[in-house]
């Protein structure tokens, strides 16, 4: 399994070329080959969602995809959310509403929520709960994550 393949995609708007084994996951390629360690690997079997990134604007598990499958795609990770020193409304809301404790699941929840709110800015609370049940958090008990996302949604609609 040592033959490497060249893969081209953009990450947070920047073109990237990586040479990876076909079996390398997108999560590992982002972390190890692109140096973007904000995407976290919590289970590597697609349940916890800590590794969620946006692939052509859709939230995906980067542990369940091979990097080669991202050829030509637009990938967005947590590192690309803030605009310089100005946090994205979701980042700001997580801070304001204590939506994180250890912070390990946070990048995955942020990217999941960005994907959901961009697609459906007026999403109702019940549907939002359903969408957020994709990811696991072990610290917060979710209540403040929900509060954060609802607050950010209101902010983003302004």
């Amino acid at each position: 399994m040592t033959d490497k393949i060249e893969v081209n995609f953009t990450v947070n708007g920047q073109p990237r070329t990586v040479r990876v084994e076909p079996r390398r996951t997108l999560g590992d390629a982002l972390r190890e080959d692109c140096g973007l360690t904000g995407t976290h690997l919590g289970c590597e079997h697609g349940v916890c969602g800590a590794c969620t990134v946006l692939l052509d604007d859709a939230p995906v598990r980067s542990c369940l995809m091979f990097a080669v499958q991202a050829e030509g795609a637009r990938v967005r990770t947590v590192e690309g959310l803030a605009d310089g020193d100005v946090l994205h409304p979701l980042q700001q809301a997580f801070w304001d509403h204590h939506g994180l404790q250890c912070g390990f699941c946070t990048p995955g929840f942020l990217m999941l929520a960005v994907g959901v709110l961009e697609r459906e800015p007026d999403i109702g609370e019940a549907e939002l709960r359903e969408a957020l049940s994709s990811n696991l958090c072990r610290c917060t008990g979710y209540q403040n994550i929900l509060k954060s996302v609802l607050a950010a949604a209101a902010q983003m609609r302004k």
Partner: protein
């Protein structure tokens, strides 16, 4: 205005929000090797050898180690609660003669690339002669090793005249109760990155957590390093809950490998490994009986329990059974008591502590028992609790038991008063009426309650050093640790409050063994109590010193000065002459430092109550938690938002423990819960609105701030409350005897009725 009691936003959040956190897997070093652990596929067997031919033949193999290569490294010892006779049950860093659980480290593979290291590990073939595993902790003890059986210890805690209590009893109520094996399961798996520095001769280990100073000293001893030969560094830690940060075989092995191979070594556990090797907890079977009078007052409580320790005794010694026995009586008088705990080795993953160790289990047992007493005597369960509460006037209350090397003395509290206040605040009677009405309409709806006494602030000491630097910044250095609970913010609030500054110039350093000589870390809900008290004392000293220096510069008596924000001002003339803190530090030669040590022989005892409202779905046999309420007296909350965050997170872990989470093993000892598809943790879909009522009616005199701990309040009695709620929904008191209440167990209960 004091910063204590304010819900300020956390100092630690920004890097975590922008993806700049440094968790274990994010650490890299040049020329780094991956360590991959080969694990036993057999629960119990004789390890006769290995076939390593293919593994060595792989072109990218750097090294392969088996037990013989590390036979000189002693087994891992005990950090807490050792009792005589436990030594033979310690875990070797790699299996030597026997394998004792599936997942036990038996060999190591080193290669540069992690994917390749995993390939090579697949080529390592262990030769194991399987033996019959011991899986039932209640079975008669069997042989662990020649001359040693599987009962490693017997924990007995008792006081009062139990025989007289049972002789005088109006009634005796007996129960057998089972608490399932589950654990903390932090979202970040374990990891250790050992980096040798050839120039200084110091080995640095990253990925440390919870108790870096203890682990540093232990690794030094185990590897025969000189004092100061290794330093541990805690980066961001993705949750701990008691299980992460204890010293495990892999931590020691990564350090040994880095030293012997002369290269940085990185070990990152995958989730499959985590679910069969990191500490598990909670597996207990209790046979409990109570002698009661006609009012339901407990005259005597007699408990015998079996603790499913797993394959070895790890760093916690007998902490979990010790706490179980010591804290089981809870908030009740219980004039005569005995608890006998059998610590039983089984061929499963070894156990340690998990958030509220011994209390989640003990509260389940005690509160189930109180509910059973009420049912037997036809009394209201709330009333039976009131009859049994230790009265406010009896506090401080000496329990005549000890745990973790301390005498249990409940310091402050008003249990009956708090329960009344809480039930009033949640509208208990209206909730009951509503549940009864819905039951009449055919729904299976119920309410359950659990009352508990927690413990927090385990000593015996904590050191803090605070430095005002020449640029006006303030550094607080502690031996505490952060697992994501908000240590930096809380310590900065306490420091700022003591100094009179804001929190912005304050940096809090924790978990770095090269920055402070000793430290106890973060466990037992101790940091806000112990480290917070030391910060209070050190800040007071530093403020005096700052004002003395400023007084000389301003030619004003120090008592006429105060600190306001980043300046020292004259009290009577806020617009008059003042000095920047930076200038004060510069005038003192560049910095001003103060150190303090807080010591205490006693823990402090917060208390609380949980109420669950649940609905049983007949078709799916699911238990839906509709609402959950927590009342908790914390003495004094430094940051109520963070306290509430601790409680919310704990409560949801408790819901998982009560309904979903269980490590299941088959008859051969094979673990069946090794993915997140098998080990089910709550998502937001399983979590109801949780309402937290914080009380500050019983501050403690045991520390300068009056604070008690928050970490374990959310989870303590969740199992008890949900079990009672399911009973209530089914209209069958005492129906729930076992946690978790999975759909299949509930199905069996519903069938029994039919």
């Amino acid at each position: 205005m004091s910063l204590i009691g304010r819900s300020v936003r956390r100092l630690e959040d920004r890097p975590l929000l922008v993806g700049a956190g440094k968790f274990a897997a994010d650490i890299r070093a040049p020329d780094m090797l991956t360590m991959r652990v080969v694990r036993s596929p057999i629960a119990f067997g004789w390890l006769t050898g290995f076939n390593l031919d293919e593994a060595f033949a792989h072109p990218e193999t750097v090294a392969i180690w088996t037990g013989a290569d590390v036979a000189d490294i002693p087994p891992i010892g005990f950090r807490l609660t050792p009792v005589p006779g436990l030594e033979p049950y310690r875990q070797p860093v790699l299996a030597q003669e026997y394998v004792r659980y599936v997942g036990e480290p038996i060999a190591l593979v080193f290669a540069a690339d992690p994917y390749t290291a995993e390939d090579i590990a697949d080529l390592v073939v262990p030769e194991i002669e399987p033996m019959a595993p011991c899986l039932d902790p209640t079975a008669p003890p069997s042989e662990f090793a020649p001359g040693l059986d599987t009962e490693a210890a017997l924990i007995t805690k008792a006081y009062g005249d139990l025989d007289a209590a049972f002789a005088d009893a109006h009634a005796v109520v007996e129960l057998e109760l089972i608490c399932g094996r589950h654990s903390g399961v932090p979202l970040e798996t374990r990891g250790a990155i050992a980096v040798p520095d050839m120039a200084s001769g110091i080995l640095r280990m990253y990925g440390a957590a919870k108790v870096p100073h203890f682990n540093r000293q232990t690794i030094e001893t185990m590897l025969g390093l000189p004092p100061g030969g290794i330093h541990l560094h805690e980066g961001h830690v993705g949750g701990g809950f008691g299980i992460r940060g204890e010293l495990y075989p892999e931590d020691v092995l990564a350090c040994a490998a880095a030293l012997r191979l002369g290269r940085p070594v990185k070990w990152i556990e995958d989730r499959y490994e985590h679910l069969m090797t990191a500490n598990q907890s909670r597996g207990q079977v209790h046979r409990v009986r109570a002698a009661v009078d006609e009012r339901g007052f407990i005259l005597g409580l007699d408990d015998e329990f079996w603790f499913d320790q797993g394959a070895y005794i790890r760093t916690h010694g007998v902490t979990v059974p010790d706490l179980t026995a010591a804290m089981l009586p809870g908030a009740y008088v219980v004039p005569a008591y005995r608890s006998v705990g059998h610590v039983r080795l089984t061929n499963k993953t070894p156990c340690g502590t998990y958030r509220a160790p011994g209390r989640f289990e003990g509260s389940f047992v005690r509160e189930r028992l109180v509910d059973a007493i009420a049912d037997r005597l036809g009394l209201d369960p709330i009333e039976v609790r009131r009859i049994n509460f230790i009265p406010k006037t009896a506090l401080p209350f000496r329990r005549n038991l000890e745990t973790l090397g301390t005498d249990i003395v409940y310091d402050t509290g008003d249990y009956a008063g708090m329960l009344d206040k809480f039930l009033h605040s949640i509208g208990w009677e209206a909730l009951r009426a509503n549940a009864a009405r819905r039951r009449q309409q055919g729904e299976l709806v119920g309410l359950g309650l659990g009352f508990f006494v927690e413990k927090s602030g385990l000593g015996p000491f904590d050191d803090v050093r605070i430095v005002l630097e020449s640029d006006g910044r303030i550094e607080v250095v502690t031996g505490a640790a952060s697992l994501g609970q908000g240590v930096e913010t809380v310590m900065a609030q306490i420091c700022a409050d003591g100094l009179g500054t804001g929190i912005d110039p304050i940096r809090v350093i924790h978990g770095q063994t090269d920055r402070i000589a000793r430290g106890l870390g973060a466990f037992a809900s101790r940091v806000t109590v112990m480290t917070g008290a030391a910060v209070t004392m050190a800040a007071e000293k530093l403020r005096h010193e700052m004002l003395a220096v400023a007084g000389r510069l301003l030619q004003t008596a120090p008592e006429l000065l105060s600190v306001a924000g980043d300046r020292v001002i004259v009290n009577d003339a806020p617009d008059g002459p003042s000095l920047a803190l930076a200038a004060v530090a510069q005038a003192a030669g560049g910095e001003i430092a103060a150190e303090a040590t807080f010591t205490t022989p006693h823990m402090t005892y917060p208390y609380g109550v949980h109420v669950a409202q649940i609905r049983v779905e007949r078709d799916s046999c699911a238990v839906v938690v509709e609402r959950f309420f927590v009342g908790y007296d914390i003495g004094r909350a430094v940051n109520p938002m963070l306290v509430e965050g601790q409680i919310l997170g704990g409560a949801v872990q408790g819901i998982g423990a009560a309904l979903m989470e269980e490590f299941v093993y088959d008859d051969a000892g094979q673990p069946l819960s090794v993915t997140f598809a098998d080990y089910l943790m709550p998502t937001i879909a399983e979590v109801p609105p949780i309402e937290v009522a914080l009380f500050e009616d019983a501050p403690t005199p045991l520390n300068p701030l009056g604070v008690k701990g928050a970490g374990e309040a959310g989870i303590n009695a969740v199992g008890a409350a949900i079990a009672a709620a399911v009973d209530d929904a089914l209209g069958r008191p005492g129906a729930v005897r076992q946690l978790p209440i999975t759909p299949s167990r509930l199905h069996a209960l519903l069938r029994q009725k039919d």
